[in-house]
């Protein structure tokens, strides 16, 4: 077995003996010094999760969060040297972590936090100004076959819980006393410019945007909308106002 393989195994599993061949100038137990490396690896990775999931940590407290994060680090150490997105599967881990079952909304709040991280680092992309969008949408014949593409930062979370309100309460934006965690919320996450924004949308608006994000034409997305509570005009004006539309093309490939 190679030196580094032995070192690696001992780093990730404290139950293993430390690697052979480590020395200290004063003959002291090298295990005490090796523990510094074990600690650096585990603590730095738990810290990386705490950086990405600050609200999840506040919801369960630091001690619980770090104990849970440690188990995740053991199960899923990073496979990338870029740690910005480390812990993408942490919300799924939380969802199936029995000790967290009493906080059923924890995994969705964590999902929202990772969507914000993704949006924060998403690629730059020019978006269409309102007048260009108006021009594209003015051609009624083209509308059903139009395909709307979004800024790469646009993400959608469908939650059975009040994920956005819980998150906002922990930013001091909303009063936690007014939040009912059991109210389902649909959340649009975006970073059209420098700052990430989080807004709640109706279920029907979320359905519509989800279809567009999947590449459906405007015609299909509208046909499938529940017209009883779907307001196309409001939804489009939201997308225009937030400058989230990067292109509108038709199936005939005409650019605006």
């Amino acid at each position: 077995m190679s030196t580094q393989h032995e070192f690696f195994d001992a780093l990730l599993d404290p139950a293993r003996p430390i690697p052979a061949g480590l020395t200290t100038w004063n003959g002291s137990d090298p295990a005490v010094r090796f523990a510094v490396y074990r600690n650096n690896v585990i603590v730095s990775l738990i810290d990386a999760l705490a950086d990405s999931y600050p609200v999840a940590q506040e919801l369960v407290g630091e001690e619980f969060f770090r104990a849970m994060a440690r188990l995740y680090v053991d199960a899923e150490p990073p496979r990338s040297r870029v740690l910005a997105f480390y812990g993408t599967s942490f919300p799924d881990f939380i969802e199936h972590f029995p000790p967290a079952a009493s906080v059923p909304y924890l995994s969705d709040v964590a999902r929202l936090e990772m969507l914000r991280v993704r949006a924060y680092h998403a690629a730059e992309c020019a978006t269409l100004p309102a007048d260009a969008i108006a021009q594209s949408l003015a051609d009624v014949d083209q509308l059903p076959t139009s395909v709307i593409r979004f800024h790469p930062s646009v993400r959608l979370l469908r939650s059975q819980y009040a994920a956005a309100s819980l998150w906002a309460a922990h930013q001091g934006i909303e009063d936690i006393a007014t939040v009912d965690p059991e109210v389902a919320e649909n959340v649009l996450v975006m970073r059209p410019h420098v700052d990430v924004e989080v807004i709640r949308v109706s279920a029907s608006t979320a359905d519509f945007i989800a279809r567009l994000l999947d590449g459906a034409t405007l015609g299909t997305a509208v046909e499938q909308a529940n017209l009883a509570d779907f307001d196309l005009r409001n939804t489009l004006s939201l997308l225009v106002q937030k400058q989230l539309i990067s292109s509108i093309t038709t199936s005939r490939g005409k650019q605006p």
């Binding site: 580094q4 100038w25 690896v41 730059e124």
Partner: protein, 300 residues
């Protein structure tokens, strides 16, 4: 057509395009400080970033770094290449590094004499190496590969370590000098690491500074350490980057400047990050020492 007069570059603009880092003090760039730096244009020699933090598609990191780069020289410091690793250099990672270097055209690129990945797992720590012939060959091969791929000379940083290896056949300083000699790379002299390693392994830090190849030093790092105890109750220093530079390290730095002459010097702080003003003041201390050592001889 009216004549278009190109606008004059503000403040430090002239040096932003200099070929090398200036022999001045710089600070590690932290997202918490982006806006203040852009608003106040502090009088600093350069900024340094961790390469891996900027391997993202877009967003504020690139937005602010682009603006800061317009006015300051830049050092890109890698923490994930695992140059000492038994696993082959990750070419995908190297390509990302090349793209980042193409984009920002930094005055300096540096990495560590350490390993941080094994197989496909990234350990996010700088792990120690035995100083033997086999490791020397591997480290040199990897540095050759990196310098060839990036088409530039890199600087290699001396490590802070907590254990030594029975397998080592060379002193750390001899090992490093041999790597510098064989690969032509430069030395990022981390004075805090010299101090930490020398205390941890009962060596003389001034002797270590004397022994390293002075003409290869392209940059100096200064940082703070934490103090613990080993199994015998002796001092064990931890390279924590979470506190101000210690007095003993300032003294060693002054000694190094006496021997080497003024070299671009970074104040590193990666944990418990204070306000920008605190780091700026620490950089001011380094700047004062730099200005009192005006002559540099035998620079490569």
């Amino acid at each position: 057509m009216p004549t278009v007069i190109s606008s004059a570059l503000p403040g430090n603009g002239a040096s932003a395009s200099a070929p090398n880092l200036p022999a001045r003090a710089g600070v590690g760039l932290k997202p918490e400080h982006f806006r203040q730096i852009i608003d106040t244009q502090p009088n600093l020699g350069f900024f340094e970033i961790h390469a891996e933090n900027y391997m993202v598609d877009g967003g504020p990191f690139h937005h602010y770094l682009t603006r800061i780069r317009e006015n300051y020289p830049l050092s890109i410091h890698g923490v994930g290449l695992s140059i000492g690793g038994e696993t082959a250099i990750d070419v995908t990672h190297l390509n990302k590094l090349a793209a980042l270097i193409d984009r920002y055209e930094p005055q300096s690129f540096s990495e560590h004499l350490a390993w941080s990945s094994h197989g496909d797992v990234f350990l996010n720590d700088l792990l120690p190496l035995p100083y033997d012939a086999q490791t020397l060959q591997r480290v040199c091969d990897h540095i050759d590969q990196v310098q060839t791929h990036l088409k530039r000379r890199m600087l290699l940083e001396n490590p802070a370590t907590y254990v030594e290896f029975a397998a080592s056949t060379m002193a750390e300083t001899d090992f490093i000098n041999e790597v510098l000699h064989r690969t032509g790379c430069g030395l990022l002299l981390d004075v805090n690491n010299v101090y930490v390693s020398c205390i941890n392994h009962h060596r003389n830090p001034y002797g270590a500074i004397d022994a390293l190849a002075h003409q290869s030093v392209g940059e100096i790092h200064l940082a703070g350490f934490a103090q613990e105890q080993d199994g015998a109750g002796d001092t064990l220093l931890i390279d924590s980057h979470g506190s101000p530079v210690a007095q003993a390290v300032w003294q060693l730095y002054d000694y190094a400047l006496n021997r080497i002459g003024p070299v671009a010097t970074l104040i590193e702080r990666d944990n418990d990050i204070p306000s920008f003003d605190v780091l700026f003041e620490e950089a001011g201390q380094a700047e004062k020492l730099l200005q009192s050592h005006t002559v540099r001889e035998n620079a490569a």
